[in-house]
């Protein structure tokens, strides 16, 4: 069975600084990979996804993620964090033939002034 690890439960970043959130997955083949964000009182919003092709994926709100097959990783990055980026971020894996998603435990991002 596939699994997703987000090693950082909380991360604090200064506004304007760069951000990288880590995600590692365990699966025998190349999965579909997703990053979702949940702001307080909101549903999970899809930031970006990787299905195939270019391993550097651009998403909404200035986020990007890079799929590294050799490291089984799909880290999320943003060059300059804004206070409105404070939220919880979830990495998720989808598997061909199944419609369900497997999520990591989430990383709470705090943005300091």
């Amino acid at each position: 069975a596939q699994s997703v690890t987000q090693p950082d439960i909380h991360i604090t970043v200064s506004e304007g600084a760069s951000l990288e959130l880590r995600c590692n997955y365990s699966y025998g083949a190349t999965p579909y990979l997703f990053w979702y964000v949940q702001s307080p009182g909101q549903g999970l919003q899809l930031l970006l996804k990787y299905f195939s092709g270019d391993t550097l994926v651009q998403g909404i709100k200035g986020f990007e993620a890079e799929f590294k097959r050799s490291q089984s990783s799909f880290n999320l990055r943003k060059p300059s964090v804004h206070w409105s980026d404070a939220a919880e971020y979830f990495c998720a894996v989808g598997v061909i033939g199944y419609s369900t998603l497997t999520f990591g435990k989430g990383t709470m991002l705090l943005v300091s002034p």
């Binding site: 979702y36 909101q42 549903g43 999970l44 899809l46 419609s99 998603l101 497997t102 989430g106």
Partner: protein, 115 residues
């Protein structure tokens, strides 16, 4: 276009009581999913409807949970009787197609507290 809506947003009940959660998917989305997040844990899949049929209910924790989707529109998830370990946030999601992998649109969740 309205997104996925869930009702109620919060529910506090006592152990042994019954609670029913409702999810309204995006109009036209045949696929509807229920997920749950217990505090401190991952968001975990519960079940998947295609229209009114249960495609996959492998994530349902036990027979105290009953999900329905009559008419293939909204869905309800009933917990009866509720136990302490059922506390958590219940998310609903919907997607347009079943083939391949399409984006799942999530609702804001229902936070269930069982005392």
């Amino acid at each position: 276009e309205a997104g996925v809506t869930q009702f109620p947003s919060h529910s506090v009940i006592e152990k042994g009581q019954t609670v029913t959660l409702r999810c309204d998917p995006i109009s036209g989305h045949d696929n509807l999913y229920w997920y749950r997040r217990v505090m401190g844990k991952e968001i975990k899949f519960l079940l998947h409807f295609v229209k009114e049929s249960k495609q996959d209910e492998s994530g349902m924790p036990n027979n105290r949970f009953l999900a329905e989707r009559t008419g293939g529109t909204y869905s309800t998830l009933k917990v009866q009787p509720a136990e302490l370990e059922d506390s958590g946030v219940y998310f609903c999601a919907s997607s347009l197609r079943t083939g391949g992998f399409t984006e799942q649109f999530f609702g804001p969740g229902t936070r269930l507290t069982v005392l």
